[in-house]
């Protein structure tokens, strides 16, 4: 009995360790594939087209929106960021779960279009700890740290619309949490419509 792939969305405020968790998660998951986002911003040093982002021109991006090839998108600092339908379809059609790493507004748009998508929000143990972590890194100005914490507080308001909440207190535990969510979600009765018939021998 082959399960169909599931569309998962993973969001988190900046500084919550989302990328670290996902990197480790993808090493260990047997079912999940990353649905690479598209953007019109210029590649940064070391970024590879098709791996970190699909880098598109503004005209290309707009054409894809027109043609219904973009599942959700947002404009930020003059650049487009979005999810190409093809990135998701290619994974799901190959029986993989498609993982979108997107911001809260994008996640809400996915939810509207795909009621059976599964939304996971990664949280810091507390906003206080998030602020401390950002400060300890020493890579950002005090002003930027305060702005980020404020932004995190705003994003937390969206967490109540997600299906699962994972606190990143310990990296390994958070990765295990995410692996469990993916594994368990595939076992939910609502996702196994044909399983019971198949077991009774009424379908082959």
């Amino acid at each position: 009995m082959e399960n169909k792939g599931i569309l998962f969305v993973v969001s988190a405020p900046a500084g919550c360790g989302k990328d670290t968790i996902l990197n480790e998660f993808f090493k260990r998951s047997k079912t999940a594939g990353y649905a690479v986002s598209a953007t019109t911003r210029a590649p940064r040093s070391g970024e590879i087209d098709g791996v970190h982002y699909h880098f598109l021109t503004v005209d290309d991006f707009k054409a894809k929106i027109e043609n219904g090839e973009v599942l959700e998108y947002t404009e930020y600092c003059g650049n487009f960021y979005g999810t190409l339908k093809k990135s998701v379809d290619d994974l799901l059609e190959n029986g993989k779960d498609a993982v979108l790493k997107i911001e809260v507004e994008g996640a809400m748009n996915i939810r509207k279009k795909f009621s059976d998508a599964c939304l996971v929000f990664i949280l810091p143990p507390s906003l206080e700890i998030l602020e401390e972590r950002l400060r300890k890194r020493g890579t950002e100005s005090e002003e930027k740290i305060i702005e980020r914490t404020k932004q995190a507080r705003t994003e937390l308001e969206f967490a109540k619309n997600y299906d699962y909440l994972i606190v990143n207190d310990d990296l390994n535990e958070a990765v295990e949490d995410l692996l469990s969510v993916f594994r368990a979600e595939k076992l939910r009765k609502t996702r196994c419509a044909e399983l019971l018939e198949s077991i009774k021998g009424e379908k082959n």
Copy 2:
């Protein structure tokens, strides 16, 4: 952030390996405790009171029903079988998840009383394979095997009322599935009502 314990129900048709899965599961779970059932049938050789069952007299069992101390019960072959409220409360109050290993009718009664209970159904890969497995054991008459398979088909009709379906095709995979279900269920947003407030620092 301490999660409250969850009431889990695990059911399966006879011959699906439920006991083997649960034995292995309890060795590996950090959060689950077994809520021992009560019965009025006589202990079998090797069965320990309070471990395999709480062995009660019929009068004791009836008195507990009267006093509201029994969450669900059924009569089978002239004996009572049921779940004592105390068995469940003792686990939940200690922050443990309470696991009930009960039949489908009992599970449906638990669902009615506890809308937030989580119900897991363990399935054979197919009824055909279940029948084969029972036959290979060589411990039961052909008549009994056919009766059991028929009974399994009836019980499968209840599976659609469960939250999760686990197919026992491979023991280790089934145990991993069950561990994931327990872990993920605790992360469901609907079970983390106070978490977001705590992270925002609005509650201590």
